[in-house]
């Protein structure tokens, strides 16, 4: 099941490489042995690949998931509640029957679910649906992440700080609060006095007040290309593109790291080399606390 995503256009290799086309030991006929359900608010190019397309009314994903959670447990659901989602009882009962009959169900959800009305509550509801389906058969759920190595950043921040994003170090140890310490919030509030941006183009995606602040402060961009952000930055260091002219590691959406083997050489340094040299330069500067005034471990936080 794909929910609120359009892999045909956004993750073009997903169908063929991972989810529906592959032949395997237990599904020797490949596509024919699988059922694909797509849930979205409009007909996207992914519909062609689906066996069943459920067009949910915009903003009604949470309601639909909650109804499914009730139906799998044979609880009563009112007709007017089902009608709100734009789907019929017969369709949903058929879906539930198929879900329970599956030997192994996978749900992939995209930003159409996680970034629309309800946001993280929608994701939580869908994850709960997948968890509860395990009372009947094997079911899993996974988000469809964005482009680039966003999973890799997430994974490494977690092992170094315990949190995936939205972290501040302003007290000398990691603290987390999405909505307060997320990049966009810090920029919109004008809380930072410098910005260092690697492998991202917030100038193209963030709201205007955030972009205005990036323009006001010294912004340093590491990027192989000229981007919206590099154009407004005080400093743009051109780096070798990862995977093309720079080696490294990229994480797949399921957190499996893959080595990047560059086929080309680049006259530009890699991101890693630039950051290393900046770190070395910073290490030569005096420490942030004067000597004799060492910070101590906190045993309980406030």
């Amino acid at each position: 099941m794909y929910w609120g995503g359009n892999p045909a256009e956004c993750h073009p290799r997903h169908f063929t490489k991972y989810t529906i086309m592959q032949k395997s030991k237990f599904l020797p006929r490949g596509r024919k042995d699988r059922t694909m359900v797509l849930v979205d608010i409009r007909e996207t190019k992914s519909v062609k690949a689906a066996d069943i397309f459920l067009q949910v009314k915009p903003g009604k994903d949470f309601e639909l998931i909650t109804i499914l959670r009730a139906l799998i447990k044979d609880q009563e659901v009112r007709d007017d509640h089902i009608a709100e989602t734009g789907l019929t009882r017969a369709t949903l009962e058929d879906l539930v029957k198929r879900m329970k009959a599956a030997r192994f169900g996978c749900i992939f959800f995209g930003m159409g679910l996680s970034m629309t009305r309800g946001k993280h509550m929608n994701s939580a509801a869908l994850l709960t649906l997948a968890a509860e389906m395990n009372a009947f058969t094997k079911f899993v759920a996974m988000p469809m992440r964005g482009h680039g190595n966003v999973t890799g950043a997430d994974v490494i921040m977690r092992w170094q700080t315990g949190y995936p994003f939205g972290i501040t170090f302003n007290r000398g140890y990691p603290r987390y609060n999405p909505g307060e310490f997320s990049t966009v919030d810090v920029l919109v509030r004008g809380d930072c006095d410098a910005a260092f941006i690697i492998g991202a183009d917030p100038g193209g995606t963030m709201p205007q007040p955030a972009i205005d602040h990036l323009r006001r402060i010294p912004t340093i961009v590491l990027d192989p290309h000229i981007t919206h952000t590099s154009k407004l930055a005080r400093v743009h260091i051109t780096t070798a593109p990862q995977g093309i002219a720079a080696p490294g590691t990229a994480y797949r959406m399921d957190e499996i790291p893959l080595p990047l083997k560059p086929p080309l050489k680049s006259p530009y340094p890699t991101d890693e080399e630039v950051v290393r040299r900046i770190n070395e330069a910073i290490a030569r500067k005096p420490f942030w606390l004067p000597d004799g005034n060492q910070p101590h471990m906190l045993t309980s936080q406030v």
Partner: protein, 544 residues
Amino acid sequence: MLRIINGKVYDPANGVDGEVKDVCIDDHGRIVESIEGGRTIDAGGMIVFPGGVDVHTHVAGGAINFARAMTPEDHRRTQAFIRTKTRRSGLGGMAPTTFATGYLYAGMGWTTVNEAAVPVLSARHTHEELSDIPIVDKSTLTLIANNEILLDQLEAGAFERAKDVLAWYIWAAKSYGVKAVNPGGVAAWKWGSDAKQLTSPIEGYARLTPGVIITQLARICEQLGLPHPLHLHCNNLGAPGNISTTLDTLKHLEGSRAHIAHSQYHAYGGSGWDSIRSETTQLADYFNTHANITTDAGAVLFGDTVTITADGPWQHLLYKLTGRKWGNLDVENETGCGIVPYTYRPSNLVNAVQWASGLELLLLIRSPWQVFLSTDHPNGGCFWRYPEIIKLLMRADFRQECLKRLPDKIKKHITLPEIDREYSLYEIATAMSAGPARALGLTQKGSLGIGCDADIVIYEEDDDVQRMFGHPRYVIKQGEIVIEDGDIRETPEGREFLFKPSYSPDTEEFIRPLFEDCYTMSFENYPVELSRIERADVIEGVTP
């Protein structure tokens, strides 16, 4: 160069029991007979131990990293490490961050840790995470007992082929040994079921049974000459009455060497959650008569923790029992993983039995060379709580006091109240250092013998043993003083131990088509490159 004088030395690997003697360390971080010059530490009134060795812990990899993501509420209330000139920032707690893990282990005198569960697919990730754990030396075990390519070989009865495949996987993962988790059960979990009977065929297979996997893997590990024998997490973990499965497993291992992981979770009698009781006496009897088997306790401490295990079906049950968060990771073709936060409560009968069982095993198995200190971190409790367990082992009166907090009905379910054994310092040094080092086959660890790594911990003698073991005066890692007077002074990088078994040269070409048939990544990208592992220490296997 460093000389430690006047300390009472406990070095079980060399039979030294509290003798006052000098320990000398040369410039290469090794223990030597004598040195000229260098710094001298006067350890008068202090005791000197070899650095601790954790035989079974989960400190790096996809699973613990998933647990970190699942428990931000714990990070918020836990110990924070503030950045200093030499120390990186981090957080302690149930699933500590990598830098904090190194500081916390070293902070209580542990200098070597064995990450006990690494799927080959995420081995690359695990090694990179391990290189961010400072100070301690590390090794990893590869999860293998549910690997479909290997199981197909065992199903077909192709023993020699299976041996080559396993050897190839060990080197592909750049690991040190083999871990089997719920053999067959995790493979069956992909079908939503489990494998609880050692003699019944596994879901998806015609003939193959968990029993066959266990005996064959133990044989393969021996024949490959692995320094650490098969590291086994038995079937039927955590279930009342699972003692029969565990004893049956041990019979399947008859004649082989093996290490049974966290045996506390495998020592229950009774037929349901109300009648669960400790059967550690039976299990301890087996260990007491079979010196070829070692184990770690997997002791439980009351409080909050997060459970992570490759045993997917068990974690689904735990999620249903507790209704708390549940993370499930499926690792294609290889294994699975489940994560559920958990609180052990003294008022809960099952938890109380678990708490008592872990201690009973440590006390009833007579030889500390056979049973080691562990909590299966973070499953039974966090590793930084080891000093609490040491106190429970060394002070029978303290144990009796703790027993008073348990429900009255517990008496019929456990044997702990009748045990009055107290560990001596010599036995503690064996169970926390010399024993696990020997079981892991790390000859340079857990010993203060000439030529061994100078990993040493010095405690100020104290009647409050929990305080003493929680706050060493000095910790020395490879000759370098890393902890002094309770402060982290240096944070050197640790080494990683790898084992390179030999296998038939055509193995790679044999695996390639099978691999391409069932994996979603390309074959060339699969093995971890040796160059990625910083400070690798490779032990070569002999050609069979």
